[in-house]
């Protein structure tokens, strides 16, 4: 019975979820996804297709970041896309790594990876182009 419910997802009244941080992460993956589709697609449409990598230079970044709106857009990308990606990497690796200690090490490493690159990106978005 339980198996059939799991497969058809037709449980009439699902048991309440115990909300751990994993449940929160699960929900955030889906909510950030909805936000990321317009953010990321807009970004690649403009930068990769309409502008193209051959026209991107220090001056181009300086011009773009002269507008606070584009800086906010890029800050949004940095916050949501990279957090979504880092948590996704954790999910993928935890499918293959089950040990308690191994998972603790993995989570710490991914957290430090996320923190350091987010700090690096944030410094650039806030500090802007130094000329």
């Amino acid at each position: 019975m339980a198996l059939r419910n799991a497969v058809t997802a037709q449980t009439p009244s699902p048991a309440p979820l115990r909300r751990s941080w994993l449940t929160v992460a699960w929900t955030l993956m889906r909510l950030s996804a909805i936000l990321l589709v317009p953010l990321v697609w807009g970004h690649v449409l403009i930068q990769d297709m309409l502008v193209g990598v051959h026209k991107i230079s220090l001056d181009y970044v300086a011009m773009r970041w002269a507008s606070l709106g584009w800086r906010a857009y890029d800050a949004g990308l940095l916050c949501f896309a990279f957090a979504h990606g880092s948590n996704g990497l954790r999910q993928v690796l935890e499918d293959y790594i089950h040990g308690r200690t191994a998972r603790r090490v993995l989570r710490t490493l991914i957290f430090l990876f996320w923190l350091s690159l987010t700090a690096l990106g944030a410094a650039a978005v806030i500090g802007g182009v130094r000329q």
Binding site: T8, H54, L78, V92, Y96, G121, A124
Partner: protein, 138 residues
């Protein structure tokens, strides 16, 4: 490691249906996009930390191999976004509407739509690739 070996064995000895194909493509495209994003955060941070090196870093993306990878990356970004929408739709909005038939149909539609959306990107960026690599554009 044991489970990774088992997974690799199962993946190559089992003919996947739509759900597993969607799952595998989501995983591969997600990891590829994350790899590029990590690189891209580092190269963009050069504008603040080492502005004189930024041009050199961007020049790497203009290499033919990187340009082809960029076109593949677009396919990954489009598919991952569409499939993410599909997952969020069934998980958050309409969990009771999920059936195996709809799962299979929705995966086929997702892949079809991703291919259609990727086509203009492939044409424009493919044109750039040919122009800059073989026709001497600069």
């Amino acid at each position: 490691m044991q489970s990774l070996i088992k997974f690799t064995y199962a993946s190559t000895h089992y003919r996947p249906r739509e759900g597993m194909i969607a799952f595998l493509l989501h995983r591969i495209s997600g990891l590829a996009v994350l790899l590029f994003l990590s690189l891209h955060i580092v190269d963009t941070s050069l504008v603040y930390f080492f502005p004189q090196s930024y041009g050199g870093a961007i020049a790497l993306y203009r290499l033919p191999g990187f340009m082809l990878a960029e076109i593949a990356l677009m396919a990954g970004v489009i598919y991952h976004g569409l499939n993410g929408f599909r997952i969020a739709l069934f998980d958050l909005v309409l969990p009771s509407a999920w059936t195996i038939q709809r799962e299979r149909l929705s995966v086929r539609l997702t892949i079809l739509l991703a291919a259609i959306l990727w086509l203009p990107a492939g044409i424009i960026m493919g044109g750039n690739f040919i122009g800059y690599t073989f026709l001497g554009w600069h």
